[in-house]
């Protein structure tokens, strides 16, 4: 198989050779050489829902900003209100263009009063770095720590017990979207109660040089829990069942947070931020389309770019779709013109020239089991 990205060499996480040795199927993803599956997507998906899975997501980007004006800088860049963050708290947010389109979605960590970490999508690291550093003012010093930071996600109902056994501090008391400093299997870093699967679990930020030691220790200690390494294929089906947006599929420069269902991370009352005026105008006017979740009547799989119709007329396009291993049917997300977005609305998806029945359903498709506050 050839690399679709051409001559640019693929980037590697500190665990890339470990994945290859373990027999993972590797694919290019956002410029990275990443494992798409080990044992099989459905098996890995069910392992995360039923036991615990281990993900290498070291391709994600991490930027730190510190200084007396760090909060001001984060507030100008992000749609959410970072001033409400306590030390040790995490927040989901978007970076927007002045016109309201999305630069990226991200999580914001408050490490200290004047010190934040922004975690961005792998495929957007260079774009985001240029964006944040060129739109930051005052005494705020930015550092791109992506290369020296590894990120492992431990997700599933047995994740808490596993991490608790290996940690040098209590982790059961870390609330959802909070983090603490601590060591897991002797590897010091940030223990964050976050994830992208809809299950309880942690994301562990550690030095790149320690990633392999932590990876092996988690696999060894998690053996009795039925732990397995999980590839990007299952990461995608897990997040889809939760209707979590994926940048580049469901959100991008041409979509705004309101139509994407991310209005809850837009806080105009906090003051000025890039995109605020445009999003306020949109809110006043009402959005023309919304990102909905739909399920197929039959097994045919809706995929990115397929047309969505209602009553024979085009109403939008599929942004993500797959067979959902936990819901055991084919599901998808897509932007649909506003009158057709109500739960129960009959849609059709054009798949290879034929129309297949679907209907708008309540989301998430599968109930969330993340840690409750």
């Amino acid at each position: 198989m050839t690399d679709a990205t051409g001559s640019t060499p693929l980037k590697r996480t500190p665990l890339r050779d470990v994945h290859v040795k373990a027999g993972a199927k590797m694919v290019p993803f956002g410029g990275w050489d990443m494992p798409v599956q080990y044992t099989g997507i459905i098996d890995e998906h069910r392992t995360v829902r039923g036991a615990v899975g281990l993900f290498d997501i070291s391709h994600m980007g991490e930027f730190e900003v510190r200084g007396p004006d760090a909060l001001t800088a984060v507030q100008r860049l992000c749609t959410n209100d970072a001033s409400t963050l306590a030390i040790g708290q995490v927040q989901y947010a978007a970076l927007c263009y002045p016109e309201g389109g999305i630069v990226d979605d991200l999580t914001v960590y408050r490490l200290a009063p004047d010190h934040f970490m922004l975690v961005v999508n792998a495929s957007n690291i260079e774009k985001d770095w240029a964006w944040v550093t060129s739109h930051s003012e005052g005494r705020a010093e930015w550092t791109n720590v992506s290369a020296e930071t590894a990120l492992l996600a431990v997700q599933g109902p047995k994740a808490e017990g596993l991490v608790a056994r290996l940690a040098d501090r209590d982790v059961t008391g870390i609330a959802y979207y909070h983090f603490a400093r601590g060591a897991v299997a002797g590897v010091a870093g940030l223990i964050s109660r976050t994830g992208y699967t809809g299950e309880d679990g942690f994301e562990l930020y550690v030095p790149a040089g320690e990633a392999e030691r932590l990876w092996q220790a988690l696999l060894e200690a998690g053996h009795r829990d039925g732990i397995k390494p999980i590839g990007l294929g299952a990461r995608d089906t897990l997040r889809l069942e939760m209707k979590y947006a994926l940048y580049g599929n469901d959100i991008d420069q041409t979509t705004n947070p309101l139509e994407a269902g991310l209005g809850w991370v837009v806080k105009p009352a906090k003051g000025e931020f890039i995109g605020r005026a445009a999003i306020e105008a949109l809110r006043a006017r009402g959005v023309a389309r919304r990102l909905v979740g739909f399920e197929m009547a039959e097994r045919a799989v809706p995929r990115h770019g397929y047309r969505l119709l209602a009553g024979g007329a085009p109403v939008g396009a599929v942004t993500s779709g797959s067979f959902g291993p936990s819901v055991e049917r084919s599901i998808g997300m897509g932007y649909v013109a506003s009158p057709q977005t109500a739960v129960g609305t009959a849609l059709t998806v054009e798949i290879r020239g034929a129309l297949h029945a679907a209907r708008v359903v309540k989301t998430p498709f599968h109930p969330s089991h993340t840690k409750k506050a």
Partner: protein
């Protein structure tokens, strides 16, 4: 290495054919299902449909991808595997057995001579994939 039964004939597109008189039972190979990953949907023609050698007759969808299916031989579909709509995973677990797709009544059984032998197919797939 993926399993390649010696008594079948193969296409470069990774379909197999088991020939019995003027009939050929067809499916996809163990190598193909390994490359595809979990099969979640198989779209097949109805009984009575005419299929043409090396033209598409349906699609197989895994979680990640859609792949066309190519007919090894020309003829009319006389049987369709009725288990696959409900259990597409049979293509993964038993590609040469319960995961079969169609039986074709061949209009020109000589076409079989143009298909690959097990030995040639094994050479084709050796070292490919991983």
């Amino acid at each position: 290495m993926a399993n390649v039964p010696p008594d079948l004939r193969y296409t470069r597109e990774h379909e197999w054919a088991k020939v019995d008189g003027d009939r050929a039972r067809i499916g996809i190979t163990a190598f193909a299902q390994e490359q595809l990953g979990d099969v979640v949907f198989v779209e097949l023609p109805k009984v009575g449909t005419k299929v043409t050698a090396m033209k598409t007759f349906g699609v197989v969808e895994s979680v990640k991808a859609v792949s066309d299916l190519f007919a090894p031989v020309t003829g009319e579909v006389v049987e369709v595997n009725a288990l696959l709509p409900k259990k597409p995973e049979l293509v993964n677990s038993d590609p040469y057995g319960q995961g079969w797709m169609l039986v074709i009544r061949m209009s020109s059984p000589k076409e079989v001579d143009g298909l690959m032998s097990a030995g040639d197919y094994e050479k084709l797939t050796a070292g490919a994939g991983h």
